[in-house]
């Protein structure tokens, strides 16, 4: 009978180790899910401000008048800013979200070919150096760097009209209708490696 004791102990030990391992693996996953759920709530809160502002300035149908488009974009931006005057970095991209996003982005970058990374740096080369800020109107004379499609597949979906953009190492959330920077995440992408070094406009 006694000879079964070591076997039983072995089985119990194995089960314990597996349980610990599963727990360790499961915890980040659960934590990520909870953080991303919180991220969604924060996006919804922003969209509530956006929608209220849109109701105030009115919807826009296609028009021949560029003035109407420009006026509406500006009015929408102002109304949204008015609705979140105290917005600050990290309100939507909280430190917890930042941790997840940095991990996703850096892992994704690490798996890209040199040519793909060159493309990404070329796209950034077209941007003048500027520091994006929350509630800032994205400078209308600056281009927008193409966002890597492969990275879009990895990041959580955003409600329209919010989109992700990379400005050098910053990840920004941008309201494309109001041309407004909703939130900013510094050091999101790896630093530019100088693969292209062209800096051409």
């Amino acid at each position: 009978m006694k000879r079964w004791i070591p076997v039983a102990l072995c089985v119990l030990c194995t089960m314990y180790v597996d349980a610990v391992r599963m727990s360790a693996a499961g915890q980040p996953a659960n934590a990520d899910a909870s953080t991303l759920s919180d991220f969604k709530k924060r996006l919804d809160a922003y969209m509530a401000v956006h929608n209220a502002a849109e109701e105030k300035v009115g919807a826009l149908d296609p028009t021949k008048s560029p003035k109407e488009i420009a006026d509406r974009e500006s009015a929408l931006g102002q109304a949204i800013r008015g609705g979140r005057m105290n917005a600050k970095p990290g309100d939507v991209l909280t430190p917890e979200v930042a941790r997840i996003f940095r991990r996703i982005i850096r892992t994704e970058f690490a798996h890209r070919s040199r040519l793909a990374l060159e493309n990404r740096e070329e796209a950034q080369d077209e941007l003048p150096a500027f520091t994006p800020m929350v509630n800032q109107i994205y400078p209308t004379t600056y281009p927008l760097a193409t966002f890597p499609p492969a990275l879009l597949r990895e990041l959580p979906e955003l409600p329209k009209p919010i989109e992700y953009r990379l400005v050098r190492q910053y990840l920004i959330l941008r309201d494309s209708q109001a041309n407004l920077i909703v939130d900013v995440l510094p050091n999101a992408a790896p630093p530019m490696s100088g693969l292209t070094g062209s800096g051409r406009k």
């Binding site: 028009t63 021949k64 560029p66 070329e122 281009p143 492969a150 879009l152 597949r153 009209p161």
Partner: protein, 299 residues
Amino acid sequence: MSRLTRRIAVVVFAAIAFVSVAAQDLQLPLKPNSVRFLVMGDTGTGDSEQYETAAQILKWRQRFPFAFAIMLGDNLYGSERPQDFVKKFERPYQALLDEKVEFNAALGNHDDQNQIYYKPFNLGGKRYRTFKKGDVRFFVLDSNYLDPEQLKWLEHELEGAGSDWKIAYFHHPMYTSATRGPVIELRAALEPLFIKYNVDVVFSGHEHLYERIYPQKGIYYFTEGGSAKLRAGDITKTSLTASGFDTDRSFMLVEIAGDEMFFQTVSRKGATIDSGILARRKVRTDLSPARNPATPVKQ
């Protein structure tokens, strides 16, 4: 000047005049019921070269009356105040607008997304869309932000396009010999769909030059990003390059009739810099990835 020298001078002058006139000949067949359109990209500078190219387009339209134009993005560079729409789009193309030429724009990386609301660009409030002319189906994509939703939409639309000609256009090139090179990630996302659903031709801008690429996996690629901006000397010809032009601005005239697409690329000065006939993908027997050059137009 000796008699011989005079004769040589006359012959040389005649030859130059002949070549010059030939270069300005319309090489498109103007077949009945064909689909005719203008292709231009990276137009919105508002500078004199844009206006001169626009004037040349107008001249050619007298001989090749196209009904619509496709714009490959960067429709307005720099500021986008109401007066910029006038200076960089409405004024240079006023004569075409007056003649009810329909412009169908794609968005470039320099374009404010709210251009989707500008009626003359015909985006109808959307970043990407499809439209049909005759038996040609166009897919206008937003290559700045190729999100999964857009790809899903594209696949759905391509699947439903049946046997129409399929032409996709967007700003960033998937194949180019320009210095900056092709956008590899765009190619990875789009090429499988283009192959699966038999896209025939792809037009892009972004690189400020003209280039025709040898068919890649059976698909013809053109870059026409030099209709106002120019990056002189930027083509490093590679095995991809079927034809390239980077010394002046240019635009393309295209005619589709039956299973053939005729094209003629013209410079700001009015010279023909490339022309040819492409067969529709479904009737081509040689869809090898290597070479399947366009047939020169027979005079």
